[in-house]
Amino acid sequence: MTLFLIRRTLGFLATLLGVSVVVFAVMNLLPGDPALVILGIDSTPDAQAALRSQLGLDAPLAERYWHWIAGLAHGDFGVSYAFGVPVSGLIAERLPLTISLALLGTALTLVTALGLGVLAAANHRRFGDWAVMLVSQLGIAVPAFWLSMLLVLLFAVKLRWLPPGGFPGWGEPLAALRSLILPAVSLALVQGAVLARVTRSSMLEVMRLDFARTARASGLSRSRIFVRHILPNALVPIVTIAGMQFANLVTGTIVIENVFYLPGLGRLIFQAISNRDLFTVQALVLMFAVIVVTANFAVDILYVLIDPRLKARLA
């Protein structure tokens, strides 16, 4: 187990280093000059040159990369070209929103998907199954941004139950939660549709196995069979998909944050790329990479917890 952890951690660090080199190279190869973006098309070449030297853009590429990575080792993400403030601060002020949104979205996804998936499997080839299949098919077909616009029209414009967008900050917990409901629901409905189908088919597969039949023959109640025997054995594919979806969810917030004008990381990275704000983009991409890799890592750990056979093999 320890060896497994060490190997995974080393792989994790190597991935991050690779990502940082690629991002740095891509951002520098992309045509575009941060100084010109900041000063606009009516500025004089003198002013652009002055700003470039102020931002340290006149140093050679390798030197700039070294500076950045050395700073990073000390926990210093650098200063944003565009905002003129430390990148760590920019990220820190936006992280709570994106994380809350992703967690809330995941929780809603899991609840709806597991609920609907189990419902469909339990009612195989009956009405409940067909209804779930139909709704989830719709969920897969509908793009999240379109669904969110419909939700806004209904719940914010027409019924006025919830705000159409914006985020007041966790200083006002109730208002903050209210403004996260619609974005989280739009994230969850689309993601949940996929997961519900996976849950259903995985459950159906397990139901056909011998031990399920034995359990039924031994006279256990239907609900007990489902909860104690079938669901745990059906979990491996569900956890795999859920892990991938969590990573999707974090990046999916980029679109959702635009539709609901939420001050999260998604909008920040969008703005940073347009501004050629190298250090901000670097830090954000690294962070997204960390989240994705961590999610994969968590899935691996969960496998071991779910499936005792794996634990035996690792030991």
Partner: protein
Amino acid sequence: MRRNSTTSAILFAIGLALAAGPACAKTAISIGLQQEPTSLDPTADATASIDGMLAHNVYESLTTVAEDGSVLPDLAKSWTISDDGLTYTFKLVEGTIFHDGTTFDANDVKFSFDRAMGKDSVNPSNGIFEPIESVTVIDPNTVQIKLTRKDAFFLFNLAQGDASIIDPESAEHNNITPIGTGPYKFDGWTRGDRLKLVKFAQYRDADKVQIEKIAFRFISDPAAASAALMSDEVDAFPGFPAPELLPQFEADPRFTVEVGSTEGEVILAMNNSRPPFNDIRVRRAISYALDRKAIIDGAMYGQATPIGSFYPPHGKAYVDLTGMYPHDVAKAKELLKEAGVAEGATMTMRVPPFPYATRSAEIIQAELAEIGINAKVENVEWGFWLSEVYKKLNYDMTIIAHTSPNDMGNFARGKSYFYGYENPAFDALWNQIKTEADEAKRDELLKQGQKMLAEDAVHGFLFQLPKLSIVRKELSGFWKSSPVLFQPLEQIRWTD
């Protein structure tokens, strides 16, 4: 009894809160903006929304500009100009303080100008300061500016956010905590969400300012902007991004919808330094190929005024030259043939990511196909556009709006400017225009300039970018048209 009194206290509080709701609304306003800046210092960043929110609200300049474009006094209460037109003496307002409590005087003016004119200046419009020779403090309330040459636009330019008067003590941090002398002071910025202003009680005309609290909300998505207006999240959207959604608001009795003008001329720019566009016949052929009405109907849902040269239709010196190259496919084909451009010749159109540009591009592509030009549309990102099209002139055609006022001088910037256009006759004319102090004479010259550019068919001149604003019926004071990038908010009123 005790419970009763608690209950009634709660009910009373709720009642108060409900009653306070509408009363608060009378002095607070929430304004939607599409573009969020990354810095709050207009003297170091060209983003239009910095001026839009802060110029003449938080910051002030020596002069200001009214909705009709006329220059008015601001921090300078009056001025005299020497007979040779080279020395300006400004009398400054007295008893004005910055939001951090420091007093405003002539030294702040000198500091602001010297900073913008310095060798390491990053002022985005340091062209404004180019004619200035020196700034001298005569006494705390008088400042004298000497020019190296006459500049007809000098007083107008001084009103811009780039020439804001700032305080030496706080200038360094204006990018995050802006400090000026204006009617509103900065009250916080949640990046990605909103920026707040609050009335500055010690402002010299504080009694004329009615709105106490302003929140700018950053909403870039047009559908989200529309939802925010419909659900009362914002009271006004002075630069509404989607012309196609206007009819919905026109039909809604809660809103006033205005279609005004901006200083933005939208052009189909042709790279004059590159064949075949160095041939005037090709440029004229393309001008004949354009059907402005179809472009405006398709790209702007009919909400824009066509232009035939490079000058805003609401300007005093405007001449209508849209008839110079009427939509005429046969004529265009004939000219192309004369110039030796083969049928089916391929040209690219590199289009920046603005709705007016991407939508116009599709229609223009179809119109060029009619005259036998195979135009390939490349949608590029803004940073790419700036570096490839604007800086390296690596393009055939592009679509772009020039939003600065008095920007006809672009055509006198020589071959290295992205137009690739050079005409000594126009350079001489522009020199005359920018130094002519007599307004009537200058207007005459501006008319000549418009004609010269249209005759040269430098670009395809398309339309003037409209200013679409949607504002609550009860609000007054928003400008219909924008002669400048800013919008003074001290004039905004809630009326019943």
